[in-house]
């Protein structure tokens, strides 16, 4: 039998979610402010996934929407706010008032979450770090522990490895094998992808293998860890893709009002998630709003890979 990770992995988002995201799984959609796959999140909502453990540093609007849609039973995170615009009301309604359902939380700091992904990617059981002494976080999260260094005798904090069932990462461009170029902010996408049992790469554009191979230093995620490749232009909106389109900061501010009560948030989901069949329909429906976010050009010079 041939290795399923060899060969052409391109498929539509609907198929990628059907095949790689199951009820009850530990799901990671990473991307720190930059390159957040709202396209994947919306498809997961449309397909009605339930009881997911949603893990990412910043739940952001992407998990606020999934929590409000009833997809999550637990959220693992390190900063749950609407970046630059206030609280995450969907998240807070679930935590404070069990709407639409009660969710568990498991909370770290950013470095703790980064370290969990790094341990997972390296198949180590835990990661040591100089952190958490004097903080109340270990008192409310028993997974934050400490170890004694066998060489120096120092006490260090320790956090456990995380192994997502699936990691979904958006990239600027990938070839059909999943070799993915990323530039701009890289967050923890590489660690998340290597830590996961399955990886879905969502790309602004699918390009020829030669385009990737011409600039191998820019390949953040190699095809050998990738299971599915999906092409979704504007797949991050209202997040952004450097060099393609800007962050829709106005939408993040609007979300404050949209999400303030459950009814208006649900009405938004009805119109913009359940009310469209695909990301392509969402993009068409958004119309000029997206065109206005198009990035201006600032290209760097080429480098010489010759020898």
């Amino acid at each position: 039998m041939s290795d399923p990770r060899q060969g052409d992995k391109v498929m539509p988002m609907g198929e990628a979610v059907r095949r790689f995201v199951r009820d009850g799984q530990l799901v990671v959609i990473e991307g720190f402010t930059h390159l957040i796959s709202f396209a994947a999140a919306h498809e997961i909502i449309r397909q009605g996934r339930r009881d997911l453990v949603l893990c990412r540093l910043t739940p952001d609007l992407v998990y606020d929407q999934m929590i409000a849609a009833g997809c999550a039973r637990k959220v693992v995170f390190s900063w749950a706010g609407n970046p630059g615009a206030g609280p995450l009301y969907g998240f807070r309604r679930a935590v404070e008032r069990a709407i639409p359902r009660a969710i568990e939380i498991e909370e770290y700091s950013h470095y703790g979450m980064v370290a969990r992904f790094a341990a997972g990617a390296a198949r180590l059981p835990f990661f040591p770090l100089r952190d958490y002494q004097g903080s109340d976080l270990p008192a409310v999260n028993p997974e934050i522990r400490s170890v004694t260094c066998p060489f120096t005798g120092e006490r260090l904090a320790a956090v456990p490895a995380i192994h997502p069932d699936v990691a979904i990462v958006h990239v600027q461009r990938a070839d059909r094998l999943g070799n993915a170029h990323v530039w701009g902010l890289m967050g923890v996408q590489k660690e998340a992808a290597f830590a996961a049992r399955a990886v879905v790469v969502v790309a602004e554009e699918i390009v020829a293998e030669e385009v990737i191979r011409a600039d191998p230093n820019r390949t953040l995620i190699p095809g050998l860890v990738v299971d599915a490749v999906v092409e979704e232009p504007f797949g991050c909106h209202p997040s952004y893709a450097q060099g393609y389109y800007d962050r829709d900061n106005a939408f993040y501010v609007q979300w404050r009002d949209i999400s303030k009560d459950a009814a208006s948030l649900n009405a938004w989901l009805d119109e913009w998630v359940y009310g469209v069949a695909s990301r392509a329909e969402y993009v068409t429906k958004m119309g000029a709003r997206l065109a206005n976010l198009r990035a201006r050009e600032q290209c760097c010079g080429p480098v010489n890979y010759g020898f």
Partner: protein, 250 residues
């Protein structure tokens, strides 16, 4: 020239930064302060954002900590593993900036929850990178508007440790960084003596009465209480016209 308390806080924070220092920048007022310092007395200030931008030179006010303008023309862009492990834990950060919903007498900061953790009165965003910045940056500047609710004697939850916590002092807990050295509010500045916030300078138009009414404990006052310098016309012009022309934070 007229100015707001927020503008004064930004100017006072900027004046704390020395040319050539490496600063871990947060969004909002710390970002304004760092970029103000860079435009004036500290052109070689190195701005590092937790999103991975190193030596950032943002040409527009970043709305989020991951704004694309932090990437364009920066000296380096790295992974968040690099930011936290190599830069912060590696001892490369001179100054960390923190704010918070609650700050207490010992400089402990709460950005997690008001009330009980299991049954929150208000659920706040959580740590982000603040906990490790508080522990690992060589020193920490705190910037927050003052009110009795925001400055209790003890925070409800220690997200980011200051000088004295339930589990011990910084020295006993072997924290690499010196912790908070200055708290800048809309009424005054506070230094730390024996781990405790002590009023070191009073802003123009603020009184000791204002200060005492808006702190949750009987605050100590420095023997030689200084008067904070008002913002200059040049500082105000830079803030209003160049750094925050949309008046998002000021």
């Amino acid at each position: 020239m007229e100015y707001t308390p927020t503008e004064l806080m930004v100017c006072e924070a900027a004046r704390q930064l020395r040319d050539g220092e490496v600063v871990f920048v947060g969004i909002g007022l710390p970002n304004l302060a760092c970029n103000l310092a860079r435009r004036r007395h500290a052109p070689n200030l190195v701005l590092i954002y937790e999103s991975g931008a190193v030596g950032a030179v943002p040409v527009r006010l970043p709305i989020s900590i991951g704004d694309p303008a932090l990437v364009t023309n920066s000296a380096s862009v790295c992974s968040m593993y690099d930011v936290f492990a190599h830069y912060l834990q590696g001892g490369r950060i001179d100054v960390g900036f923190l704010g918070g919903a609650q700050i207490d007498r010992w400089g402990n900061i709460n950005t997690t929850v008001v009330g009980d953790y299991a049954h929150p009165g208000v659920r706040l965003p959580g740590s982000g990178g603040a906990c490790e910045i508080a522990i690992l940056a060589k020193k920490v500047l705190v910037i927050a508007p003052q009110s009795a609710r925001a400055f209790p004697e003890r925070v409800d939850f220690v997200t980011s440790p200051g000088h004295v916590t339930a589990s011990g002092t910084r020295r006993a807990l072997a924290m690499p960084g010196a912790g908070p050295v200055l708290v800048i509010t809309d009424l005054g500045c506070y230094e730390f003596h024996d781990g405790e916030m002590v009023l070191s300078s009073l802003h123009p138009d603020a009184t000791l009465g204002d200060v005492r009414r808006t702190l949750g404990w009987d605050v100590r006052v420095a023997a030689e209480l200084a008067a904070t310098r008002a913002p200059s016309g040049d500082e105000l012009r830079l803030i209003r016209e160049d750094l925050d022309p949309g008046h998002l934070y000021i």
